[in-house]
């Protein structure tokens, strides 16, 4: 493989990546009439009407709100429990530590479909069905092990001398943890946040199962966009565009941490 062959592969793949995205954008700015009419590669009379409909229709913007809510809750819970756990794994040995770590990872290997029914029954039984909290907790099954795994890798790379220095300086553990340790690991937390978001925002099966009428997430609303005149492609495409944006924003904000994380991390 020569350098120029690989460049060609990259460029071709880049075009392959962009084409469907272009098409999505192009459909999002067309009216349904134009879409079902004559085919054209470029939009004839671009319009923002589809976006307007989404922003003005409660079904749509509530759905976005619901999704963002459970993603935020999930990320918060995941980080809140994974950080202490990762710190513990990286600094101490204890009875059953290796087995516990391994058990956590096996949860990542569980097919979500297996949990459909039990989750449905469980959350109904405790009265959390049809709430963002249910989806957030359900996603924790996958995001928490992943977070612990990523964070432990980074935390282990921070030398324990740091902990000792803080103790010698007379600072309590809480001061050390929140004012010294966590700020140093900003990159790690950024990477973890990215992966939690990446999983929770994109997941459909569990989100659909655990949401009823009042907490419908965007992923569900999008799979049912049929109006009287058939499939509302324009609005659907506009909704699609809007779901891509949070992802772009998240990766833009954590891009430096990602690069650092990839360079250091478990992968090498």
């Amino acid at each position: 493989m020569t350098r120029s062959f690989s460049r060609w592969v990259l460029v071709s793949y880049g075009i392959y990546l962009l084409l469907p995205l272009y098409w999505l954008l192009s459909m999002a700015v067309r009216t349904n009439a134009e879409i079902v009419g004559d085919f054209s590669v470029l939009p004839q009379s671009p319009t923002l009407a589809n976006f307007a409909e989404i922003f003005s229709s409660p079904v749509w913007y509530q759905a976005f709100g619901n999704s963002l809510t459970y993603v935020a809750i999930n990320t918060l819970i995941s980080l809140a429990v994974a950080i202490p756990a990762a710190y513990t794994f990286s600094r101490y040995r204890f009875l059953g530590d290796k087995q516990l770590f391994f058990w956590l990872l096996t949860n990542r290997m569980a097919p979500p479909a297996v949990f459909l029914l039990p989750f449905f029954q469980l959350y109904s039984a405790i009265g959390l069905f049809d709430t963002p909290l249910a989806v957030a907790l359900a996603h924790c099954l996958f995001t928490v092990p992943l977070s612990v795994w990523i964070l432990e890798g980074f935390f282990s790379a921070v030398p324990t001398e740091l902990d000792e220095m803080a103790k010698i300086d007379g600072h309590g553990f809480l001061y050390f943890f929140f004012r010294v340790f966590l700020p140093i690991n900003r990159g790690a937390i950024g990477v973890t946040l990215f992966f939690c978001f990446m999983f929770s925002w994109v997941e459909l099966l569990l989100a659909r199962t655990l949401s009823g009428a009042s907490s419908k997430p965007i992923v569900v609303v999008m799979t049912r966009t049929i109006s009287a005149s058939g499939m509302d492609w324009g609005v659907l495409a506009a909704a699609g565009v809007l779901t891509v944006i949070p992802g772009i924003l998240v990766v833009w904000f954590v891009r430096k941490d990602l690069v650092k994380g990839f360079a250091l991390g478990r992968v090498s």
Binding site: V9, A85, F89, R93, A110, L117, L122, C140, V202, I248
Partner: protein
């Protein structure tokens, strides 16, 4: 993990929150599933213990077996395309320069799109009436229609999965490649090694770690795939693109056959664990340490 860590069982306090949350989400449901898998549940009040009957039935169920075969075919196909393609794409990314962060962000995009939106994008893209790809292929004279032709449905699903996940392999491989220090390339140049030898002897050994992760992740996730085929083809035409997750979902939620569904779930989970374990040990045994 270094060996300088003190042993302290009070550390369990630190991991307790994680254990509680994951345990709540994992243990209770799994116990439920195991419980159901060995019972015949006619209705809320009448259940009978039936031992391994559901397991036997599932393993002999022709629809289960065909879904299983389809699943394996799909997973192997996408793996065989995504791994080499991902490595090739990674090799094309300049290791330094202003373009590099932009390229990485572009590659990360498909990974950040909700899975149903991925399928929706491809729906719109591949439809023979309104899609750029669909119209384009039909304009070349091929009557392409992924909703009515099983082969077309398969090809479109594979193309969509490649579009969706190759970036993961590419980004992981890029991370591995950038970790290789310059002297290794220099030495190969002075030895007179050709490009293929440089790839095989300098780069591939160092990519081993990331490739194991990439293959494991893709193997697992493609085996669990649900959303994308569901939205794009609905499992059709007929059941030609119905893979394991969808079959299970239909059984569990649609038809309320709790016992067989539970048995299916257990078998499904065990298979994935088995694949992962087999792959990991065969690769780990490769190391003579």
């Amino acid at each position: 993990m270094s060996s300088f860590k003190p042993h302290d069982n009070r550390a369990w306090l630190g991991v307790l929150p994680v254990v509680l949350i994951v345990g709540f989400s994992a243990v209770i449901p799994l116990m439920t599933v195991l419980n159901y898998s060995v019972q015949d549940i006619l209705d809320f009040n009448s259940r009978f213990f039936v031992g391994f009957q559901w397991y036997r039935e599932t393993l002999h169920d022709p629809r289960f077996l065909s879904a299983f075969v389809r699943q394996i075919t799909f997973s192997l196909t996408v793996l065989l395309i995504e791994i080499p393609l991902g490595i090739a794409v990674a090799k094309g990314i300049p290791k330094t320069g202003r373009l590099t962060p932009l390229i990485l962000i572009l590659l990360a995009l498909p990974l950040l799109i909700p899975w149903n939106v991925v399928a929706t994008i491809w729906q719109i893209f591949a439809r023979p009436d309104i899609g750029l790809l669909g119209v384009g292929i039909n304009a070349l004279g091929i009557s392409y229609n992924y909703t009515s032709e099983p082969l077309h449905a398969w090809l479109t699903l594979v193309a969509m999965d490649v579009w969706h996940w190759t970036s993961l392999v590419a980004l992981l491989s890029f991370a591995g490649l950038t970790a290789i220090q310059l002297p290794f390339y220099q030495a190969a140049e002075l030895d007179g090694a050709n490009k293929w030898q440089v790839f095989r002897l300098v780069e591939l050994p160092r990519l081993r770690g990331v490739l194991i992760i990439a293959i494991l992740l893709r193997l697992m996730d493609s085996f669990m795939i649900y959303t994308e085929p569901f939205v794009l083809t609905g499992g059709g035409p007929g059941d030609t693109t119905t893979f394991l997750s969808q079959y299970l979902a239909t059984m569990a939620v649609g038809q309320f056959d709790l016992g067989p569904a539970a048995a299916f779930s257990v078998i499904y989970f065990l298979f994935i664990l088995l694949f992962c374990w087999l792959f990991y040990t065969s690769v780990a045994l490769d190391d003579d340490s």
